[in-house]
Amino acid sequence: MNKLSDPNSWPELYGDIIYRHAYFRLRDEMLAEELVQETFLAALKARERFAGNSSEKTWLIGILKHKIVDHLRKAVREQSQDESIQEFDDLLNESFDGKGHWKIDVSRWNSPDGSLEQQQFWQTLQKCVSGLPKRMATLFILREIDGLDSDTICKEMELSSTNNLWTMLSRMRMRLRQCLEKQWFNKT
């Protein structure tokens, strides 16, 4: 059974870790900081209910994720649905000719799994995710990090149809693929 430490020690013990998670998901320093504080405050209130099955850290990160989902739900309403359409049209035009055939070389990557062992690689991947338009980055997190299913994501992001979702996911992955290729595989 895990026990909680003194809440006063949380900022020292977990402040940075929670902040890194928050920043990754929100990409906004002030907002991330706010959510760290909210997380600790919520944890303080819910302290009696800590069952001790998970570590203190995991428990705190869980609380943060709930807070972030609440935040994203609000933020999604304020983002315009088509903020990034133009940008992705450009990506498609760059990639395919008028008949839908590749215009670019899609070569094999050199030992991709070896990259997973390198700290530099993870920074590159994070940069690529951060470079996505906001809705796409949210989509990446909900689908690839949190592993939510299509119906749930459509609801959270207020998408009218799953076809719409699949198109967005496809563009998002194409863009990430291109970024990794440029920023990592063609460099190493």
């Binding site: 006063n8 890194r20 920043y23 395919f96 590749w102 899609v106 994070q126 699949w166 996911l169 990430l176």
Partner: protein, 80 residues
């Protein structure tokens, strides 16, 4: 005959849902003949594997930290 643009969409969808039988066959045929799209499929599969592990690496980002001031502020808020 399916083109590469359509094939990339199906390669992506294949990560999110079970494709229909017709789509599966068409995609497989396309991939047999098109090595660029085959590479593309490998790239997306790799991206998924990498994404699954990304969160474990976020905590090691030592260049990203709260300032001492912020920590003190948060600590104070816990005591109010």
């Amino acid at each position: 005959m399916m083109n590469c643009k359509e094939a990339t969409d199906l390669v992506s969808q294949n990560l999110d849902r079970q494709l229909g039988l017709g789509q599966r066959i068409a995609l497989r045929l396309h991939l047999l003949m098109c090595h660029y799209c085959r590479n593309y499929a490998h790239h997306l599969a790799f991206l998924r594997r990498a994404a699954a592990n990304l969160e474990d690496h976020i905590e090691n980002q030592t260049n990203l930290s709260l300032s001492e001031e912020s920590k003190a502020k948060i600590k104070q808020s816990l005591n109010n």
